[in-house]
């Protein structure tokens, strides 16, 4: 065997620790190939010696914690499938007819129509049973569809969204799917509010601000509270729930930024109408919610960490806490540690599992970041918990970042 073949044999070897006889003979005679073999063996040993990230164990425990005690067999009964297909077909029919009706140009209808549609959606969501929803749906659906044909163009998309939402609410009692769809409606209303602000249309600003708050609170917020109260979620549901919560946090951030940016939205009434919390809200009694930065100031290119500490100094356990941390572009997330593992979505970190904080206990969340440019990096942490009815308690802080060597 020559060196070229020996090299090829080493690079494709099954196991460097037990080379084939011909290769072994060559290695005994050739120092260069022996060195290559030793380097490769060291490389593989180094690879095996790489440590397991500390987060592995925490995420395993979190997963096991949420593993249901008795696991249902994933069997779909034919009857259930038929029902699902029927429901899907009916939904398609409803959505299709709504789209057709809404795409037909007609005369103008009054603005209250959208308000009535929103009310109808919320009533459907709040109905006590699926049968009650179906009754409510049937009592109004035809009239709404008939009236929708004469909507002005700018309201058609929103009306279509609400009509579709109504038909789905009547077909299923699924709080997570409902929260997702109400989130989509709330997002659309924020978009309309922004357009109204750009167009300096005060009446439309008031209208969309009011509708947005209604949908965000009674549509999204109440669904989230219902889901949290029910408590038992499978894994997919938990991930969907996290996304709704993140979307809610993003929408709130977007609104606050719009209020700061758009002069038309600076009126006190609009802030009240949107029910945006003050930047530093009062936490429930006994909850301490603090932030601490290791390096002051942080230095560009250097890793640093901050710690969020939650402590319960009250008289009752605090339960179902969820933490969302939003970081600016100036900070790059390197790692997170804490009682609950975090899920990362862009510059946001969201705790995966609801946290329980018994009386007298405290828990830390450590976020390792790297500053990427100098300036004032504004960070925000939002905490939701049962004791604050899942409304966010906010903490804002600014990290001063300086250039290296300054």
């Amino acid at each position: 065997m020559d060196c070229q073949r020996a090299r090829e044999a080493l690079l494709t070897a099954d196991d460097l620790r037990s080379p084939a006889a011909a290769l072994r003979d060559h290695l005994e005679r050739c120092a260069a190939c022996r060195l290559l073999s030793q380097q490769l063996a060291r490389l593989e040993q180094d690879w095996r010696d790489l440590p397991t990230p500390a987060s592995a164990d925490a995420s395993r425990l979190a997963f096991l914690d949420r593993l249901p005690g008795s696991l249902p067999a994933p069997v779909r009964r034919p009857a259930a499938l038929v029902v699902r297909w029927l429901v899907a077909a009916l939904l398609l029919l409803a959505v299709g007819s709504a789209a057709w009706l809404l795409s037909t140009p007609r005369a103008v209808a009054g603005p209250p129509f959208i308000e009535r549609l929103v009310d109808w959606n919320l009533e459907l969501a709040e109905a006590g049973s699926l049968a009650e929803r179906q009754r409510l749906y049937a009592s109004q659906q035809a009239a709404f569809q008939a009236a929708a044909v004469s909507l002005p163009a700018e309201d058609r998309e929103l009306a279509s969204l609400l009509l579709e939402n109504g038909s789905r609410l009547a077909a299923h009692d699924d709080p997570i799917a409902e929260a997702e769809r109400f989130s989509a409606v709330a997002d659309k209303l924020v978009e309309k509010l922004h357009q109204a602000a750009l167009g300096k249309d005060e009446k439309a600003i008031d209208r969309y601000a009011r509708l947005q708050t209604q949908v965000a609170q009674r549509g999204v917020g109440d669904r989230l509270a219902k889901i949290e109260e029910a408590g038992v979620l499978n894994f997919e549901s938990e991930r969907r729930l996290e996304k709704v919560i993140l979307r809610d946090a993003k929408r709130r951030k977007q609104l606050i930024e719009m209020l700061e940016r758009e002069p038309e939205l600076k009126r006190k009434e609009i802030r009240q109408e949107l029910d945006l919390p003050t930047k530093v809200a009062d936490p429930p009694p006994g909850l301490s919610f603090d932030f601490d930065l290791r390096d002051r100031p942080a230095v560009v290119g250097q890793p640093t960490q901050f710690r969020i500490r939650l402590a319960n100094r009250g008289a009752a356990d605090l339960v179902r806490l969820q933490l969302v941390i939003t970081l600016p572009d100036e900070l790059e997330v390197l790692d997170t540690r804490g009682t609950s593992p975090f899920r990362r979505e862009g510059q946001q970190l969201i705790s995966r599992a609801p946290i329980k904080l018994p009386v007298g206990q405290e828990t830390d969340f450590v976020v390792e970041v790297k500053a990427v440019r100098a300036g004032a990096a504004k960070c925000r942490a939002e905490l939701r918990l049962k004791q604050s009815s899942y409304r966010p308690v906010l903490r804002d802080w600014t990290v001063k970042v300086v250039a290296a060597g300054s």
């Binding site: 490389l43 592995a56 979307r247 975090f342």
Partner: protein, 180 residues
């Protein structure tokens, strides 16, 4: 890349659903390590490891008793990783959705202890995802090239070729890094 997570459907699978917690305890770290080598960050690793065990949970009936459970889980993990990569690539071609995940951090940027570990992670950037996967499955999991080929959905020769690439590039890059 292989898309078949359940090639050996077996209605009499010996793996009871109630044993699943034991499976998680035994194999979580192995799956986690593979995914951490592939993604380079703990956030995606957390997500994908959960996703792997969820998929496994939903497909327990398809696992054939007597076959390599670890290899089956690693195949699910690999598919979950490549699914995520495809999803992100496809997302880049569309308007960025509200909740889009930020672009991946290169594997070399994760926190690591030890100088050699740090150099290894930098060298890793030289490798394609498939070469990284093959290298890990052979070196750490000690799977045969036949088993690796099954996971990749390719041939044994292709698996060996990826191993050749991985060993050659890692060695070259590490040597350059150590000199600098």
């Amino acid at each position: 890349m292989a898309r078949n997570d359940s090639p050996r459907a077996n209605p009499t699978s010996a793996l009871s659903r109630v044993d699943f917690a034991a499976v998680v305890n035994e194999h979580w770290t192995g799956v986690y390590r593979l995914l951490h080598r592939l993604t380079g960050n703990s956030h995606d690793t957390d997500d994908l490891t959960q996703e792997t065990f969820l998929r496994a949970l939903n497909r327990l009936e398809t696992f054939q008793a007597g076959t390599n459970l670890r290899a089956w889980l690693l195949r699910i993990a690999s598919n979950a990783f490549f699914d995520l990569q495809r999803k992100r690539q496809s997302n880049r071609q569309q308007p960025l959705p509200d909740d889009a995940v930020s672009p991946e951090r290169p594997p070399g940027q994760a926190l690591e202890t030890g100088e050699q570990g740090r150099l290894l992670r930098i060298a890793l950037e030289e490798l394609s995802e498939t070469a990284r996967l093959v290298f890990h499955l052979r070196v750490e999991e000690e799977l045969s090239f036949r088993e690796i080929a099954d996971i990749l959905g390719g041939t044994e020769e292709a698996a060996r070729w990826h191993m050749h690439q991985a060993r050659g590039k890692l060695l070259k890059r590490l040597s350059a890094l150590e000199k600098s």
